[in-house]
Amino acid sequence: MLARNLPWLTMSKLKRREAVAGYVFILPWLISLLVFTLYPIITTLYLSFTNYTVVQPPVWVGLENYQTIFFNDPSIKPSVYNSVYYTLLSVPVGLILSLLLALVLNMRATGIGVYRTLFYLPSLVPPVAATIVFTVLFEARSGLINSFIRSFGLPAPAWFADPNWSKPGLVIMSLWGIGAQTLIFLAGLQDIPKSLLEAAEIDGANGAQKLWYITLPLLSNVILFNLVMNVIGSFQVFTQAVVIGGTTGNPMESTLMFMVHIYRNAFRYFKMGYASALSVLLFVVVMVVTLLIFRSARLWVFAEKDENA
C-alpha cells in the first residue's frame, strides 16, 4: 500500500530510511489506534443495535435498545437526573471555589509555597479511600460533621443515608479534590502581566474592579479549560458513587449515576448490547455539551487581539 504512494517512490534513500524509522517508532500507537480505539468504537456502535448476553452471539434487534432507554427502563430517569444534578452542582461550585482558592494562594505571603503544596495533598488520596473517609466524616449519628452541626443546636442531615442529602454529600466530597484545578488557575493568574494590574491601580481601580475587568477576562481561557474537563469528568463519575451506594444507588437510587447504570448492565446483568446503547448515548451527550460550551466560549472567553489595541 505504501509503495503506491507517489512521494514514497520519489524519495531519496536517506529520506526513505527516515520514514521507515518513523513508522517503527509509531508502530505501537498505530496498533493501539486500530485495536483499542477504532475497532472498539465501531463494535460499541454495532452492539448497541443488538441483543448480546455474551453466552450467545449478538442478535440484531435494530433500535430496540434505544427504545428501551427512552420508554421502558425505570432506572433511566433517576440515573439521568442524578448525573445531571451532580454535574450542575459540582462543576460551578468547584469552579468558583477553586478560583477563589487560587486568588488566595496568589497573595504575597511568606511561606506561600508550603500552603500551595498542602492544598494539593488531598488530590493524592485515591478516590476509594477518600470516599470511605467521607463516609466516616458524614456518618449520621456521631460522625465529625454532624457532631459539629449539632454543637450549634442545629438539626443534622443523615447525608449518605438520606436520599435527599446523598448527592449534596457527594458534591461536598468532590470539593475536597479541587487542588489540581486550583493549581491550574494559579498558573493562569501568574501569567497575567503585573503591568496591567498596576496600570489599573494608577487609574484608580479598586480590587473588585481589577478582578472583574482584568483578572477574569485574562483568565477566561483557563476557566474554559477547567469547565470542559470538569463537565466531561462529572458526567462520568463512577467510583465515588459506587463506594457510597453500590451498584443499586443506595439509598433509594439517589446515588445511581448514569455510569453506574452502564456498569451494572454490562457486568452485572451481562446485557452488553443494552450497555453499549447507553454508552453511545452518554458519548453523544458529552460531545454535544462540550461543543455547546465551546460555542458559548465565543461570547465570554476573552480574545486578546480584539481589545489590546
Binding site: 524509522a21 518513523g22 505501537p28 460499541t44 494539593y120 465529625l144 456498569y263 454508552s279
Partner: protein, 290 residues
C-alpha cells in the same frame, strides 16, 4: 473613569501592613486546616480502637494509640493488605514503564521523523484525546475475554505498552522544542535513528519523562474501574479494590478500615514528597489533573 485620589501611596503605616499580613495568614491557615481535616481524621481514626472512631464527645487525638490496626490489616484473613500493597505496586510500576517507553518513542516519531501520513495520523491522535473511555471499554473487555485473559493483570497492563494519546501529544510537544543540531550531528556521525533517540534525545527530555511517570503511577494507583471489571480473585486485588471489598464485607471494623485507607494513600505521599516539583510543574504546564 475619574481619579479621586492618588491610590498608589506607599506611606501607609507599617502597623496596618502588619495587620494585613496577619489577616492573610489567618485566612490561609484556616482554609488549609479545613482542607487537611479529612486527612487528619483518616490517620487518627486508623490509630483508634474500633469503638472510639465514632465517640461522643469527639476525640481529637487517639488515646490509647492503637498501632495494631496496621499489623492486623496487613494479614487480615481474606483481605491481606500487604498483598494488596504489592499488587498495586506491581500494577502501577508496569503500567508506568509501558507508558513511558511507548509514549516517548511515539512522541519522538511524530516530532522528529518525517514519513508520509504523519500529519494525518497525528490529527487522529489529537482526535483520540476527546474520545471518552465509555465508548471503548465494552468491546475491549470482550476482546480480552475471548483471549481468556480475564482475572489477570494482562488487560490492565498490556494496553499501556501501546501508548496513550495524551502523553504522546505531550512528548511530541516536548521533543519539538529540542534543538535538532545534536541529532543532526549524531546522524552525520552515522548513528541510526534508534541510537539517536536512546542516547541523544531521551536524556534531553528527562523532566518530561518524570512528569509522565509520576502521573501515570498516580492514576494507575487510583484506578478502580479497571481492576473492578477485570479481576475476580480477591488476593489479586490492588489496594483500592481491596479496600472497597473490605468495606463491603466488614462493615463495622472502622479502625482497620481507616488503617487500610491510610495504607492506600501513604505510598503516594512518599512519591509526592520526592517528586513534588514534577507534580506541580506537570499540572501547571499541561493541565494534567488527578
Amino acid at each position: 473613569m475619574q481619579i479621586n485620589e492618588v491610590p498608589y501611596s506607599d506611606n501607609s503605616p507599617s502597623l496596618s501592613k502588619q495587620i494585613a499580613s496577619v489577616a492573610r495568614h489567618l485566612i490561609l491557615i484556616g482554609v488549609t486546616l479545613l482542607f487537611l481535616l479529612p486527612f487528619y481524621w483518616m490517620i487518627i481514626s486508623a490509630l483508634k480502637p474500633n469503638e472510639m472512631v465514632f465517640s461522643d464527645p469527639v476525640q481529637w487525638f487517639p488515646n490509647p494509640i492503637r498501632w495494631e490496626n496496621f499489623a492486623e490489616a496487613f494479614n487480615y484473613p481474606g483481605f491481606p493488605f500487604l498483598r494488596f500493597l504489592w499488587n498495586s505496586t506491581f500494577y502501577s510500576t508496569l503500567v508506568t514503564v509501558g507508558t513511558v517507553i511507548s509514549c516517548a518513542a511515539v512522541g519522538y516519531g511524530f516530532a522528529s521523523l518525517r514519513f508520509p501520513g504523519r500529519n494525518f495520523l497525528f490529527t487522529l491522535t489529537v482526535a483520540n484525546l476527546m474520545i471518552p473511555g465509555v465508548v471503548t471499554f465494552i468491546p475491549i473487555f470482550l476482546l480480552f475475554k475471548s483471549l481468556g485473559m480475564l482475572g489477570s493483570y494482562t488487560p490492565l497492563i498490556l494496553p499501556s505498552f501501546f501508548g496513550n494519546a495524551f502523553f504522546i501529544f505531550m512528548m511530541r510537544q516536548f521533543f519539538l522544542t529540542m534543538p535538532s543540531e545534536l541529532a543532526d550531528a549524531a546522524r552525520v556521525d552515522g548513528a541510526n535513528e534508534f541510537v539517536i533517540f536512546w542516547r541523544v534525545m531521551l536524556p534531553l527530555v528527562q523532566p518530561a519523562l518524570i512528569v509522565m511517570a509520576v502521573f501515570t503511577f498516580l492514576w494507575t494507583w487510583h484506578d478502580f474501574f479497571g481492576p473492578l471489571v477485570y479481576l475476580n480473585d480477591q488476593s489479586s486485588y490492588p489496594l483500592s479494590l481491596g479496600l472497597f471489598a473490605f468495606r463491603n464485607r466488614r462493615t463495622t471494623e472502622w479502625g482497620l478500615l481507616m488503617a487500610g485507607a491510610t495504607l492506600t494513600t501513604l505510598p503516594l505521599m512518599v512519591l509526592f514528597f520526592f517528586a513534588q516539583r514534577y507534580f506541580i510543574e506537570g499540572i501547571k504546564v499541561t493541565g494534567l489533573k488527578v
